[in-house]
Symmetry: C2
Subunit: 311 residues, 2 copies
């Protein structure tokens, strides 16, 4: 089976953890161990990953050092996070494969997602990124950097950026070539660096592409049978956190679309995962599963998590 | 012709420049423009690059932000710099190619160089990296971090790390697959992230691999005919900066080895370039050229720079 596995960035740097390299490597190792076993029994796997907490840390480092080192724009920081996380996944995966006696190259590809400069998302920045600010800091950043700033819980402010649709993975061809050559490919980190096409060529933009929607593009690129979205909850819930909370074990794309339409799922958390699942299943006829990071094998076998199946 | 072009990190962030993203993109664009023209007339090019100033900036950002964000080890910072520089090269190269009507994927591969944990270089750290410190800071870092610190010119201190030999590019197979598929490949950034093989698997180490020696490994991987080392001087000089300064236009490997043996070239600057050139030419029978970053075409044609030819 051809599988695209998407690892959540929040599952790599966890809540209340500092996010040291050792902590990140340990969570990544736990996440790739079941994927390595799946490769050992003959499945072909492409890994993609989020970068929220990591790019947040890089932005904060840029901020703290701004008098000494010029701040890099968000596209460049995103590319840095791909290097950081891609390398760590590569190391963990290769070690797991070697322990299982599997010889396969593990390779990280820097990835850009082409977005439309006229995407309506650019008019309504929605994705909070980077450090939290006080009200005074937020006002000053809004004024001097021109950043849209949004108030979060607890009188904290954060920069918000647009989250446009990924139209195309610009590295689709090389990713396909590598995948078909038998390599375990890591690609699409953080949703890919968003770039737009201008009269003078490609230009990076200060935006964030949803990594699950980008994962769907990659799944379509390599002709995946299964899109596995691995996160920090057991699956998709109805009335999440409410009195009638209920794990959905399986839903077809029709039902999933209905749930999406009535706003059952959290914007920016579960909704884009379900959206990516629906798009993938509708286009490919394959199956998508949303499950906990540590349960990839059982999720692929349909034993845990939420399956999205053709209608 | 198959060409491996190595771009110097110091040619991307230049002396007395701040190293903004715009400055770096502008120098990268100037460097890749002639390479794009060479691709347009049918040559196949793999690009590798240094990362000295960039990883120095990332280390400084880590330092400034250390109370808020855990400092990443040098291997992870090196991987970040590959993401940053690889992405910028990719954007500039693809735009140059499209302007010339060339359709070829441009792809950046995260690269690790396997080194020997018993390499004598680990006993004698030689490569200065990252920010400059005062004497007091240096003493404290030596004491609390265990870093070897070396005094540089002007009563400034810097951390020094080992520079072991690159034995193997771990991504050699995927790099070859991509190169042969017709992609313009960016690989081996900063010499590759150095990793050692341990009883429990691969482990990143706090060291720096010389990017020209890594370029030689990549040139051998793809069976290059020409290794082009592009830097911020016109070529290789005898008595550089002295009264009898003289640009060498051509030397065979035998002569080059003799010059190396008598210490004609600067350690850590020109000597590793000449060493990489000699190794490449001896093994492959190809030609190596060391020249200025902006002059890749003329250098490939033998019109400028220093050619190293078979004996």
């Amino acid at each position: 089976m051809k599988i695209v596995a998407a690892l959540g960035g929040n599952a790599i740097i966890r809540y209340r953890e500092k996010g040291t390299a050792a902590e990140q490597l340990s969570h990544i190792d736990a996440a790739v161990a079941p994927l390595a076993r799946m490769i050992a029994v003959g499945h072909k796997v492409l890994i993609t990953h989020g970068n929220g907490p990591q790019v947040g840390d890089i932005l904060l480092q840029n901020e703290c050092a701004k008098d000494a080192v010029p701040r890099m724009p968000l596209d460049v920081c995103g590319a840095e996070s791909q290097g950081m996380i891609g390398y760590m996944i590569q190391q963990c995966m290769q070690n797991r494969l070697e322990a299982l006696g599997v010889e396969a190259p593990v390779v990280g590809v820097l990835t850009r997602a082409r977005v439309d400069g006229a995407d309506p998302a650019f008019a309504t920045p929605s994705k909070a990124i980077g450090p939290y600010y006080t009200h005074a800091e937020a006002e000053s950043l809004g004024k001097y950097e021109g950043w849209p700033i949004r108030e979060e819980k607890g009188r904290k402010w954060r920069r918000v950026v647009p989250s446009p649709e990924p139209l195309e993975i610009l590295e689709a061809d090389p990713v396909k070539v590598l995948f078909e050559s038998g390599a375990v490919v890591i690609a699409g980190g953080g949703g890919g660096v968003p770039v737009i096409k201008t009269a003078t060529g490609l230009r990076g933009v200060e935006a964030v592409v949803d990594k699950d929607l980008a994962a769907e593009r990659l799944a379509s690129t390599v002709g995946a049978d299964l899109l596995l979205m691995l996160t920090d909850v057991e699956g998709v819930y109805l009335d999440y956190g409410g009195a009638d909370e209920e794990l959905i074990r399986s839903m077809d794309t029709c039902k999933a679309r209905a749930f999406l339409a009535r706003g059952e799922f959290g914007t920016g958390t579960m909704a884009p995962k379900v959206e990516a699942a629906v798009r993938f299943v509708e286009k490919s006829g394959g199956i998508a599963v949303i499950s906990h990071l540590d349960a990839a094998e059982d999720a692929a076998a349909g034993l845990v998590g939420t399956q999205v199946i053709p209608a």
